[in-house]
């Protein structure tokens, strides 16, 4: 029996008195690029951190490829968080070597292809990279693994339109078809074209999980328009 790539069952997360996620249940299958959409503070990053194993849910269960989140799930999950995965002393080649040393599914040939595609130089110091180039490096590290689940937290936040296009092209070109990929963002117009499904999250609750085509057919709206309607204040 094949398990879903990612499965949340009644997951809640509280920080003291603040509820970040409330009773979230969802399943993500293989071969899908899913947009995790929500305004700032809606719970997108918390959901991703729980799936990646950085946070424990207050209640509920999370499974990745049938395994509870832990050492085994981390081995098949590639997470690009909102903070850099590199350390200040590193050059680009050190970051690549770090991934190669710790992740058996790291594909060096794919990494070299991505570095060339992203116009990154292995000799560059990580601290000397611009924000856009740093985003490209983080994405290179995350997508160069042959993981089952990719989690990209705001991969195009704060980068210029040219870099955005480059990053989106890289996502489409380099992600594995037998994997699930979740991209969180609130810049929907720029990224809508790559989504198969979207998850809308508001105040920690999952309010919609639907295919993009179905949204266009059933609601007669683009995802961006639907987002604006749902999150209008």
């Amino acid at each position: 029996m094949s398990h879903p790539i990612l499965q949340f069952s009644s997951v809640s997360k509280r920080y003291g008195s603040k509820t970040a996620l409330q009773d979230v249940s969802l399943q993500v299958g293989a071969g899908k690029i899913i947009g995790l959409l929500g305004s700032n503070g809606s719970g997108k990053t918390t959901l991703m951190k729980i799936a990646a194993g950085l946070l424990q849910p207050s209640s509920g269960t999370v499974r990745v490829c049938g395994e509870p989140v832990g050492v085994k799930s981390k081995a098949v999950t590639s997470f690009m968080p909102d903070k850099p995965l590199t350390e200040p002393w590193m050059r680009v080649r050190d970051a690549i070597a770090f991934y190669r040393d710790f992740y058996p599914d790291f594909d060096l040939a794919k990494a070299r292809d991505m570095l060339a595609f992203m116009q990154l130089n292995e000799r560059d110091k990580v601290t000397s990279l611009s924000k856009g180039m740093n985003e490209r490096l983080q994405l290179t590290l995350a997508l160069s693994r042959n993981a089952r689940l990719y989690l990209l937290d705001e991969p195009i936040g704060g980068v210029d339109p040219v870099a955005r296009e480059k990053i989106l092209d890289a996502i489409i070109q380099f992600y594995s078809e037998d994997s699930g990929l979740i991209v969180s963002t609130h810049l929907i117009r720029d990224i809508e074209r790559i989504f198969d499904e979207v998850l809308l999250i508001k105040n920690g609750r999952l309010i919609l999980h639907e295919q993009v085509d179905a949204i266009r057919t059933n609601h007669d709206k683009s995802v961006d328009d639907l987002f604006k309607e749902v999150y209008a204040e």
Binding site: G53, Q56, L85, W89, F102
Partner: protein
Amino acid sequence: MINLLKYDFKRNANLILAGAAILVLAQAALMLAGWWRDWDGQILYIGIMVIYVLFGFLAYLMMCQTYNGNIRSYSRRLLPLGSWYLPVSPFLLLVICYLALGAMFVLFDTLFSLIFDVKDTLFSMLRQFVGQIGFWDSAAMTFNFLWGLLFITVAVFMAITVARTIDGKGGTFMGIAAFIALFALIVWIEALLFPQTKDDSSWGIVSIEINEGAIVSGAISKANTSFDWGLLLFELAIVAALYYAILYMLDRKVKL
């Protein structure tokens, strides 16, 4: 573990290499100045020993900083490894740094005794002491030092981990308070459980009695080494409990 050590070293490589260079230059400059100006050898030796102690302390701070950085680093926390490695790797780095520092000290001590014709250096006294008490007692003393280092380090890591469960300055104060409370509690319980064997300064299992008059003259005549198994078991239990608590907090409570 080797890979983790490699990256902990790489992260601190500039600091470690710069520290080693400064230490070598400082002691070379002091020895040259002392030789040139005919300074008192004993005072110069003590001065350089103080520098070594200072660098040993700095190495300890570096280890704490490495642990503090690792437990908050996404790149480390996402690795497909259990949390158990997070405290172990920086501690091993510290042990390696102390071995290197010890080797540098032996070299310095030998050179110093040759250049300044000082016979009663620390290393020569230590060799004499080890020759008198024998291999097993020397091994027990070394184990005692390592055990004390491990015991204190686990307590310090516990305090750092507590500090990282709360955001902001409140976390730092909480960590300091946890450290003080923890040590006060352990000392109190040990005094209750082992009133006859515990003295104020010993953390660990080996009690060593030395004729103080003999130390002053540089000729140590007596060493009596004994194991306190009850105390050892108690401290083993404390270390295991603290380590488990650290892992629990790393997995469930530390803010990321």
